[in-house]
């Protein structure tokens, strides 16, 4: 079989493979099961300026083919993160993307400025809680402005909005890549209480059930903005799922709920992706990006 090159350039972030972990689904906890240094990159749990206790439980509910969750960004705050998780990752040379979220532009700016001087930050992912193009653009603009140029900014677009419009707003304001999706707005009703099951009420659906929805988002963004690197996230479980994301237009993929199911999934998906590419005589992951958009030879469609 062909030797496959998995090396990936994601908007200036050089990665050994296109397989990343999604925010909140990868961390030190995985080290017992998988080689974190072999990841394209690890995206940290989303960090806010001040510690957050998160949403009341239940926070994760299983539904057919997926989970609906609302964790409420529980995290130790930037200071806690900088003194524990980040040094641990940096010491082991894990390629690290720090996911950040803030309630105001001033907070986004402060997060960016403090991360700018922290060792071990390979890129920053802006976790956008709103699906409004104007606000998306403003948040990305501030983070981009306050980070050094060598640190790529990924914009993880808010759930449930016009994905192409949001992507355009992010890129116009300096995002080096966009991440779609966070999941899809969802609700579960508890048969006993007859009220929403999640402590927070509303949640996001992720898992295998959303893969076709996420593929469509990747497809639409790539079609509208073919020059923009896209990270596909949503329901990827296998090497072919990852390949499908690339074919639809993604440069890289993020693994989320599959890591809750199988803490060793990242290594497996990476190996399977290499096999899937080789089997189709594709020499590199980059070669696959957007391939599904090309008309087959001799097709009159």
């Amino acid at each position: 079989m062909t030797e496959v090159d998995l090396a990936t350039d994601l908007g200036g972030l050089a990665m050994a493979s296109p397989v990343m972990t999604a925010a909140g689904c990868g961390g030190r906890e995985l080290a017992a099961y998988t080689d974190l240094t072999a990841l394209g990159a690890l995206v940290t749990r989303t960090v806010t300026l001040d510690a957050r206790a998160g949403s009341p439980p239940p926070r994760v509910v299983e539904t057919p083919g997926g989970v609906v969750s609302a964790v409420g960004l529980q995290n130790p705050g930037l200071q806690g993160f900088l003194s524990t998780d980040l040094p641990w990752l940096a010491q082991r040379r894990v390629r690290t993307v720090v996911s950040i979220s803030a309630g105001s532009l001033a907070e986004y700016g402060e997060l960016a400025r403090r991360l700018a001087t922290a060792p071990g930050v390979d890129a920053v992912e802006v976790h956008l809680e709103v699906s409004d193009a104007h606000q998306t653009g403003k948040a990305v603009h501030v983070v981009r402005r306050d980070l050094p140029h060598g640190v790529p900014v990924l914009a993880k677009l808010g759930a449930g909005g016009d994905v192409v419009g949001l992507a355009r707003a992010a890129v116009d304001n300096g995002a080096d890549a966009v991440v779609v999706t966070q999941g899809f707005p969802a609700l579960v009703i508890d048969p006993r209480t007859l009220r929403p099951t999640l402590g927070a009420g509303r949640g996001l659906l992720t898992g295998p059930a959303v893969l076709p929805l996420a593929l469509r988002c990747v497809w639409d963004v790539h079609e509208a903005l073919p020059e923009v690197p896209v990270v596909g996230a949503g329901g990827v479980r296998t090497g072919f799922d990852a390949l499908a994301m690339l074919l639809a237009g993604a440069t890289a993929v993020q693994l989320g709920s599959v890591l809750l199911h199988d803490p060793a999934a990242a290594g497996r998906v990476t190996r399977e992706l290499a096999d899937e590419l080789a089997r189709r005589d594709l020499k590199s992951a980059a070669d696959a990006t957007g391939l599904a958009h090309q008309q087959p030879e001799g097709s009159s469609r």
Binding site: G26, E29, A32, A53, P56, V60, E62, Q74, A264
Partner: protein, 287 residues
């Protein structure tokens, strides 16, 4: 297939079902899981991926370990006891011998063992008492005096009452309907037992109201309590933050901590039992 792992801590292995036998109202699962048994300490648990290869079930099921044998005719085996409550446990109960099982474990913090040979009372409700049996063994190895208090709603829902007689100095049984032993719950009988045996430590496993009652009774008698909470379906590795509960730290600060990673065993006097299911306003980071 097994992933590289340090000498301690969890491993992920593809094991298989050796047998699933009915045990009263419960199912007694024995699985081959090389590497898990060697690392086992009482109070830790395993997680299983359920439903087989065609399943799109995302969350893993957490089961406390009832018994772990590092060596045997089949290699290392692990035993768990569970009740059939949903499609996942029903699948597991019906899994024929030889069914491959993705097992991760042992996970979580075990029961803390005393350094001195003290008197211990082990309290279990229903099949939650399963992990108390290997604990009793370890405590006896340390020359501790071990008493057990087992309860359930009815006689058929009791677990391990016979085995407890072999494993301990004394056994007290309670049933809600009075069909066997004392009528009432384990908490109703605990105070008398603690006084009678002059217990130094209480170990418990069961639903939150039982654990809360145990923690209160232990505190009233000046005994330590070690309570193991149920770990809800999730990842089991600490990633998903789905199983948090409010626990007061050494510094007096309440944090939302994970049952799977910081637990499942907590000091009973550290858990804010009344605030389970909420994020208390004074929890670290609560707005």
């Amino acid at each position: 297939m097994s992933t590289a792992a340090p000498e301690t801590g969890p491993v992920q292995v593809t094991g298989e079902v050796l047998s699933v036998k009915k045990a009263g109202a419960y199912q007694h699962l024995t699985m081959v899981a090389p590497g898990v048994a060697e690392r086992f300490r009482p109070g830790t648990f395993v997680t299983l991926a359920v439903g087989g290869p065609l399943s799109a079930t995302t969350l893993r099921r957490s089961l406390p370990v009832h018994r772990a044998r590092p060596t045997g005719a089949y290699g290392g085996t692990v035993e768990c006891v569970f009740a059939v409550e949903d499609a996942a446990t029903s699948w597991l109960a019906g899994a024929p011998a030889g069914t491959p099982l993705d097992v991760v474990g042992p996970l979580g913090r075990p029961y803390a063992l005393p350094k001195e040979p003290v008197t211990c009372v082990l309290v279990g409700d229903g099949c939650a008492s399963a992990p108390l049996f290997p604990l009793a063994e370890r405590l006896r190895e340390r020359s501790c005096v071990v008493h057990m208090l087992l309860g359930a709603a009815t006689e058929s829902a009791l677990f391990g009452a016979l085995e407890a007689r072999r494993a301990t100095r004394g056994v007290v049984v309670t049933t809600g309907d009075g069909s066997v032993g004392l009528r009432g719950g384990v908490v109703d009988a605990l105070s008398d037992l603690l006084t009678r045996v002059q217990a130094d430590v209480v170990y418990a496993a069961g639903p939150p109201d039982v654990l809360h009652g145990v923690a209160r009774a232990a505190e009233a008698h000046g005994a330590w309590s070690q309570t193991a909470v149920d770990v809800p379906d999730g990842c089991g590795t600490g990633l998903c933050l789905g199983c948090v509960l409010p626990v007061v730290g050494e510094d007096g600060v309440t944090r939302m901590v994970r049952a799977c990673a910081e637990g499942p065993v907590f000091r009973g006097d550290r858990v804010r039992w009344r605030d389970l299911g909420t994020v208390p306003a004074d929890a670290r980071g609560a707005s």
